[in-house]
């Protein structure tokens, strides 16, 4: 059997990952957004006794080695020159995509170009056969989703006959001059490529060959490439009828007055559908089915054989069913949230959102591109943090990654519903909304603080291509839904089940490894641990051991917080009413004295340490130092914000609304006037010509 190595490369958002998925049958994440693929991925496929190794490289515009992705891709291509390079292009944006193709030809790659048509409509008719002849490389016209195209590509790869591509497009440029600076012994192709890079004043290549001379030809070369492309397109294609990415919808979605209201409305609809109407309907149904057809039969089986008292029954009842089912019932909601996020992404709307928010976010030191990461953070911070990788500025990337855990991820939602519902009743909707907003506001404030102190972001170019709006197919929606269901089930089946068992064991055994069950007067291991840490949380209004132990267990996964509280109270957390009743009952192991302490607990759950999986990803993405700092910061922020909210809310309860409100207003006015006065004094020290620049003023004097 022969192994053929193939690398897949193309501009961002040309359907590269879709092609990779259909070729290899895998389920990598696809979106209508640039840079979804952030690192190379490998897949294998087979065709007629041939094994094909396919490497998916990040989407790039050129081989200029300016960004992280470009470096990854170019280095890979230089190192693996024998690979066949499948260059995927978008039919409707071919003139821009060809620029990368020319780069690949310069590099001397064995290029197989595939032209993918994503939109139904063609913006222009292109004579592919003619283009193929002119460019001197093989071109296939495909649809990345169809099976036939895939077979065609596989066949073409296996029968690929290498003709050395010729560089036709740099006629007027003297490569010889730069070639002199290169060491002898390079092949002709290598020599040409490095000479071009030297002429473009590529820093890395210059360092590699110790060349200091400045050639200043980048402009000329780029023009030459584009002129060549223009000529090609004039010869081989009709005139373009529509601008790629332009749409009448933008008149509404990017309207000065309507843009933000529409965005808020869309987000509100998403959250309403996910968590309240559709989502809660599905989740109630699922809970009923699980209760009726899984839990009751098995438990009655155990009861008839072993009796309802004792270790085994208790173990199955509380450790396995109660905990796992209570988490499982949130499955539809979590999957729905991911579906909606992916619809927003695939439709092309997110690029518009990034455009809208760039104004505001650049003020607090983030980029419009952070919106994507932060929105994904509502789903799951672990996967969201990964998407921060395609940001240009290192500091902005670190900031975005550190702020993502402040977003209220889907795992925290059960806590709000179960605990908040017990005390706030109908008003819980507003409490939940408030919590989501609180996370956002704190993220923005933290960003501002980071920006002013340690993580000042550099000038960012914010170059973002506008993808066309695309209708999202039902097939794609189902795929995302079931993929997330699968992921969630895997998580529940492994991590959460295991953690529930551990929490149950720790909660039901004493330090002398004696099973204590419901016996009063014995202290379990977890209770002892909780008691040690509980005093720290007393100023926040929840100093009882059970709540603190639940927080510790929640470090592994936030879903466990609810189920472990239910475990401590010896109630079934899938029976919501029983569970909520036990939270109010002073006789149970874990209860809340008043609604302020519930509120405080919810806020703390929202803000405290991210789960271990997120910490792991943070560590990988931004390094030890920043992870440690960020996580610690998060705890500190959580602690103080919670303390503040608890005390204010407590004051409302005790002194009545009006008095506290007036007091708070006076307090705020005093603080603002202080800030104002300090600013005035500072300004006086400055001359009129420039503001806030003491150093410059001194120089001028």
């Amino acid at each position: 059997m022969k192994e053929i190595c193939v690398s897949l490369i193309g501009n961002p958002n040309t359907g590269k990952t879709t092609l990779f998925n259909t070729l290899t049958g895998s389920h990598e994440h696809v979106g209508n957004w640039h840079g979804v693929t952030v690192e190379e991925k490998v897949g294998y496929l087979f065709y007629n006794e041939n094994k094909i190794k396919l490497v998916d490289l990040p989407g790039i515009y050129s081989l200029s080695r300016l960004s992280f992705e470009e470096k990854v891709a170019t280095d890979y291509l230089i190192k693996n020159k024998d690979n066949i390079v499948v260059n995927i292009c978008d039919y409707n944006n071919l003139q821009r995509n060809l620029y990368l193709t020319l780069g690949l030809i310069e590099l001397g790659c064995k290029v197989l170009m595939v032209v993918n048509q994503i939109e139904k409509k063609k913006f222009r008719k292109i004579n592919i056969a003619k283009l193929q002849k002119k460019l001197g490389i093989k071109i296939l016209e495909i649809n990345a989703q169809s099976k036939e195209s895939v077979e065609e590509i596989k066949k073409e790869i296996c029968n690929f006959s290498c003709q050395e591509p010729k560089i036709n497009h740099l006629k007027g440029i003297d490569l010889h001059e730069a070639g002199k600076s290169l060491p002898k012994g390079l092949s002709n192709l290598d020599k040409n490529f490095y000479a071009i890079k030297l002429l473009e004043d590529d820093v890395d290549i210059k360092n590699k060959f110790n060349v200091d001379k400045v050639f200043n030809k980048a402009e000329e070369i780029a023009s030459a490439r584009y002129n060549y492309i223009d000529n090609l397109m004039n010869e081989c294609a009709d005139k373009q009828i529509k601008t790629y990415g332009q749409s009448k919808l933008d008149k509404i979605f990017l309207n000065k007055f309507l843009a933000f209201p529409i965005f808020l409305l869309l987000m509100a609809t998403v959250f309403y559908l996910t968590f309240f109407s559709l989502g809660s309907f599905l989740s109630d149904g699922l809970s009923f089915i699980l209760e009726k057809f899984v839990k009751s039969p098995i438990l009655s089986l155990i009861e008839s054989n072993f009796g309802s008292e004792g270790f085994l029954y208790n173990f199955f009842d509380s450790a396995i069913f109660s905990g796992v089912i209570s988490v499982l019932t949130f499955l539809p909601q979590v999957a729905l949230l991911f579906v909606f996020l992916s619809i927003l992404e695939d439709s092309g709307y997110l690029a518009r959102v990034a455009f809208m928010f760039e104004d505001i976010l650049s003020k607090v030191g983030l980029s419009g591109k952070s919106v994507y990461t932060l929105l994904m953070g509502f789903g799951c911070s672990t996967s969201a943090i990964l998407t921060a990788r395609n940001m240009e500025d290192e500091n902005a990337k670190i900031k975005t990654a550190l702020l993502t855990p402040y977003m209220s991820c889907s795992a925290k939602f059960p806590i709000y519903i179960c605990l908040g519902g017990a005390f706030f009743g109908v008003n819980n909707v507003f409490v939940i909304l408030g919590l989501y907003l609180l996370g956002l506001v704190i993220a923005i404030i933290m960003s501002l603080i980071y920006e002013k102190t340690i993580l000042k972001s550099k000038e960012q170019s914010f170059i973002l291509e506008f993808p066309p709006y695309r209708a999202v197919g039902l097939k794609q929606i189902c795929k995302v839904f079931f993929q997330n269901v699968k992921l969630f089930l895997a998580r529940v089946g492994t991590l959460i089940l295991a953690m529930n068992v551990i929490v149950w064991l720790l909660g039901n055994f004493s330090f002398s490894f004696k099973y204590i069950g419901n016996v009063e007067g014995e202290t379990s291991i977890l209770q002892t641990l909780g008691r040690i840490f509980a005093p720290i949380f007393a100023p926040l209004g929840f100093g009882s051991w059970g709540l603190v132990s639940a927080l510790i267990a929640g470090l592994i996964a936030k879903e466990i917080i609810v189920s472990s509280i239910a475990l401590f109270n010896h109630v079934d957390s899938s029976k919501l009413l029983d569970f909520q009743q036990s939270l109010k009952d002073p006789a149970s192991a874990v209860y809340f004295a008043n609604s302020s302490s519930v509120l405080a607990y919810l806020v703390f759950c929202l803000l405290y340490f991210p789960c271990l999986a997120s910490i792991g990803v943070l560590y990988k993405e931004i390094g030890k130092k920043w992870t440690f700092f960020g996580v610690l910061m998060q705890f500190v922020v959580a602690y103080f914000i919670t303390m503040m909210i608890y005390n204010i809310s407590r004051a409302f309860e005790i002194f009545g609304f009006l008095k506290v409100f007036v007091f708070l207003m006076i307090f705020l006015i005093i603080i603002f006037s202080f800030v104002f006065i300090i600013r005035k004094i500072k300004k006086k020290n400055c001359c009129n010509k420039c503001e806030n620049c003491m150093k410059n003023c001194l120089k001028k004097k």
Binding site: L66, N93, E219, G245, E358, D359, F462, E465
Partner: protein
């Protein structure tokens, strides 16, 4: 000199060049994206606070920071 940032919306201009004081990496990125001399370009939209502009070039749409658009010199044709 007129720049892509200061020019009027929804009108065609020709690119004259990129300012000298532009960072080299940004200049190369702009060239790669097709902002070459003599190319037709059109500013489609500015954002609310004028921090970003949306530009049509070579048959596709691209958003750029206003500061960067200000490096691109254009002339009326």
């Amino acid at each position: 000199m007129l720049t892509l940032f200061k020019c009027k919306s929804n009108r065609n201009y020709l690119i004259v060049g990129i300012k000298e004081d532009c960072y080299f990496s940004i200049k190369r990125r702009l060239l790669d994206l097709g902002f070459t001399q003599g190319q037709r370009v059109c500013k489609v939209k500015s954002s609310l606070l004028n921090k970003v502009v949306l530009v049509e070039i070579r048959g596709y749409l691209l958003s750029l920071k206003s500061k960067i658009a200000d490096y691109i010199l254009v002339e009326e044709r």
